[in-house]
Symmetry: C2
Subunit: 191 residues, 2 copies
DNA sequence: ATATAAACTGACTAATCACTCTACAAATGT
DNA sequence: ACATTTGTAGAGTGATTAGTCAGTTTATAT
């Protein structure tokens, strides 16, 4: 395994467990099996390591998601895939998903340029924007719809982690939750 | 102003801006206008300060909320008050609200005993539990309903902060969002 | 008035941390 | 074969930090 990747994956584990400032770079280096100097060879500063890890993790989730979204035929299918596979990815990669949440609600978010954040959510936003324009969703600000959908996913994730269900139950309840979200956002005139 | 309270309110501001570990106790003391020793006279450790601040802030929100919930006559009124006044309180106390979110998604949450967390949400949970039993809400785990409702509030808060609307628009969109949430959770047989 | 306790101070400390520096090894190009 | 870049190591450094301590002021009780 490539040392840079080893540093990133070790950092992820430790950040989730001890927080950003609670994890010294020295500990990351030791647990990753590299020297202190090597860590700073790949990442100029600790902040750069944190931000790189965020961008990389976000991109992993997005790549997975875009693939699934593209598999949907109707808009509802695409939206369902976005919802369902976000959660499935989260359940399959709990550390990564938690890290994204942790980063999002920390002052480190300010280190990511606004344009990068916008780019991360560009494709999702376009998808939703189209549905608002087409009258599929209620006539509300796209930003609001995006935020509500995302927070539903976050909330569901928290529930899935808190209540350790068998994977059948998980699947079932993810689908139920999608139906609720769809019901909430869809334009009743189109039903 | 009492020194202990001054320390807490200064810590809140700095934690929100720089994060927990990014804020030295020395800085808190200076900005609060007390000596370093005084800070440790009131709070044995920095972690104790953080946790105390969390418990206090959570309690402030809860006290406010319980009062508003009790003013509702029907269950829908109570639930609406919970939803609407959570957001209004958040808009009026942005630092406090952000701090609660920041703490919730940080490893510091582990420092709060599970029973304390349960106690914090006990009354809300009871309210929702009753509505599930009475068939007002869909027949879903109360925990799920609570988590979904709470994440709707979180998401709405993020939206309100991101889009700086005038207070009339804010009021309007909070009410709209409540209607969406209600629609999502309510048992259609009871409509 | 005096004793006792509580509040308060700020210099101090031991530990820790992000990051640097020098040296060496491996790969790569010519 | 040689030169140059790139990767790696780990001891070292200066700054910073949570927490202490010895001593002073203020409040309270008798």
């Amino acid at each position: 395994m490539d040392k840079s990747a080893s540093i990133l994956s070790t950092a992820l584990k430790l950040f989730v467990q001890y927080g950003f400032h609670g994890t010294p770079t020295s500990k990351i280096a030791v647990e990753a099996g590299v020297s202190n100097g090597t860590l700073f060879h790949y990442f100029k500063t600790k902040d750069e390591l944190v931000v790189t890890l965020y961008n990389q993790t976000k991109e992993e989730l997005n790549t997975h998601l875009f693939e699934k979204i593209d598999q949907g035929e109707t808009f509802k299918d695409k939206f369902r895939n976005m919802f369902v596979y976000s959660l499935k990815w989260g359940v399959a990669h709990p550390e990564e998903f938690f890290f994204l949440q942790q980063f999002h609600f920390s002052p480190h978010l300010a280190l990511v340029p606004a344009e990068d954040i916008a780019r991360h959510s560009q494709k999702h936003t376009q998808l939703l924007e189209g549905a608002v324009q087409a009258g599929i969703f209620k006539y509300l600000p796209t930003e609001l719809i995006a935020t509500l959908a995302w927070s539903q996913i976050n909330g569901m994730y928290e529930f899935l982690v808190k209540c350790d269900l068998c994977s059948d139950k998980k699947e079932q309840i993810i689908n139920d939750a999608f139906d609720l979200t769809w019901l909430m956002l869809v334009n009743p005139a189109k039903l």
